[in-house]
């Protein structure tokens, strides 16, 4: 397990009642990080992934290291800088969603 730092958007920080960056213990993949976030903050369940399909919601993006990881496989390894704790994993509301 790896400590992954995650930055959530304001709506989800409000829902999870957390502030700033949060950290989760997870395998370094998108799927494992999202699973860990939902375990740690049950209010976030089905807010980043669709309940019916399990896929990323259309207006949610995942960024890290100035790269868009949204279309990567959910089981692909996260970038080394995220795994080593030097960069956060960003959950972002798409510009079009507001």
């Amino acid at each position: 397990m790896t400590v992954i730092h995650v930055v959530l958007p304001a709506h989800l920080r409000q829902l999870a009642r957390c502030s700033g960056e949060v950290s989760v213990d997870a395998e370094p993949t998108q799927r494992a990080v999202l699973d860990a976030l939902e375990r740690q903050y049950p209010a976030l369940r089905w807010t980043m992934r669709d309940a019916a399909t399990g896929r990323r919601r259309a207006f949610v993006r995942f960024y890290a290291c100035e790269e868009d990881l949204s279309h990567e496989s959910p089981d692909a390894p996260l970038p080394t800088a995220v795994v080593e704790g030097r960069e956060p994993f960003l959950v972002v509301g798409a510009m079009a969603g507001g």
């Binding site: 958007p9 304001a10 709506h11 989800l12 409000q14 829902l15 049950p42 209010a43 369940r45 089905w46 807010t47 980043m48 669709d50 309940a51 019916a52 919601r57 207006f59 949610v60 509301g93 798409a94 969603g97 507001g98």
Partner: protein, 371 residues
């Protein structure tokens, strides 16, 4: 001291307005869930401190929030609305088959007896029930699986189940209204459903008197006369006196019979309120004058109620869930507008004041009459 609590859902959160029985001075609390589009907030008749709210966003989908202290604090509960089985298809906007997909909750209807029981009407149209205070939701699939489902189509707001009426006399009977399918009724607690749209006539569908396809906007029932139902349809104000088996038009002398909400006076089953809107294209009041119309004869004969309402340059809309009545001895009537005003009348509609003027666009207004 008795009073009222207004539960107001808006495009950017929820607000709770409270007043004493005079209903002249209002305290405004909120926004709750700021930034979340809150289609509906509802209170349990069995426990006025138990509230349910349905905030959603285009980014993060639907959540359900519950309060056990009258709206002072809220906790997220369950938000998984899974259709039973393989949901099949309904008509899309272009008439092609489209798979059922959950989009949002439009309406929450708590049970009169049990604060942990609450129904949710959702888009794409289906009815869900929770028996554990909103933690888990189960579809009453007999409605969606009625054989007509493949012919249901979206209204302009989506294909939504927006109105749930729990019959005042018969615990096994419920009514659900869907845009654009029409009204369906169950007489066995939600297991099986039948469309009840006989008498409705709608342009825009191949057969104007079809069994389904009607864009019903809202239903209302008075508890003392449960066989009587009132309906604001896309066009036409309708009435049934046989529990929905047949409908008659009662638009009468309204300036336009297009509109969204309809409500019945708390103590007078033949006193009905509507807000005429110019047309399906012009979603604002005729002549820029915001007028509630009241019938004291169960329809057909209507009088405009204007005192305290803007009578020039007013181009707001009043949405289907945004009108409600209280149960105080002198019935209060309330409605919210897309311009962010919530108007209150403490005298059955004779005069109006703005309880609050500058909220985000109002999507829903519910009233709790407090002991």
């Amino acid at each position: 001291m008795s009073g009222v609590r207004l539960l107001v859902g808006t495009r950017k959160g929820a607000f709770v307005l409270t007043s004493d029985e005079g209903r002249r001075e209002w305290e405004v609390a909120g926004p709750h869930f700021p930034g979340w589009e809150t289609y509906h907030v509802a209170g349990s008749p069995a426990d006025p401190d138990r509230l349910y709210a349905a905030p959603s966003t285009g980014w993060f989908g639907q959540v359900i929030q519950r309060s056990d202290d009258g709206g002072l604090s809220w906790e997220p509960v369950g938000n998984e609305f899974a259709y039973a089985g393989v949901p099949g298809t309904h008509q899309w906007y272009d008439g092609t088959p489209h798979p059922w997909e959950f989009a949002r909750v439009w309406h929450l209807e708590p049970s009169r007896q049990d604060p942990d029981v609450v129904y949710a009407g959702v888009e794409d149209a289906a009815l869900f029930r929770s028996t554990d205070g909103g933690q888990t939701w189960t579809e009453l699939a007999g409605l969606r699986e009625h054989g007509s489902g493949a012919h249901w189509q979206p209204g302009a707001g989506g294909m939504c189940l927006h109105t749930i009426v729990l019959d005042a006399a018969d615990d096994e009977r419920m009514f659900a209204a869907i845009s654009a399918a029409g009204v369906c009724r169950t007489d066995d607690g939600g297991v099986s459903w039948q469309p009840i749209n006989k008498g409705l006539l709608s342009d825009g569908i191949p057969s104007p008197a079809a069994e389904v396809g009607h864009c019903v906007h809202r239903l209302a029932q008075h508890p003392a006369r449960p066989q009587t139902l009132y309906m604001q349809k896309h066009w036409d104000v309708m009435r049934s006196d046989d529990g929905g088996d047949s409908w008659q038009e009662v638009s009468g002398d309204l300036p336009t019979d297009f509109g969204f909400p309809i409500a019945v006076h708390a103590h007078e089953p033949e006193t009905v309120y509507v807000v005429p809107i110019t047309s399906d294209s012009h979603h604002f009041p005729p002549e820029g004058r915001l007028r509630v119309y009241r019938s004291r004869t169960g329809g057909n004969e209507w009088e405009p109620l204007t005192a305290g309402l803007p009578q020039r340059d007013c181009y707001v809309n009043v949405l289907r869930d945004a009108m409600a009545v209280d149960a105080l001895p002198e019935c209060g009537v309330y409605f919210g507008t897309t311009g962010g005003q919530v108007y209150a009348s403490a005298d059955g509609g004779d005069s109006w004041t703005a309880a609050v003027r500058d909220l985000p666009a109002v999507l829903s207004v519910e009233v709790q009459t407090l002991p």
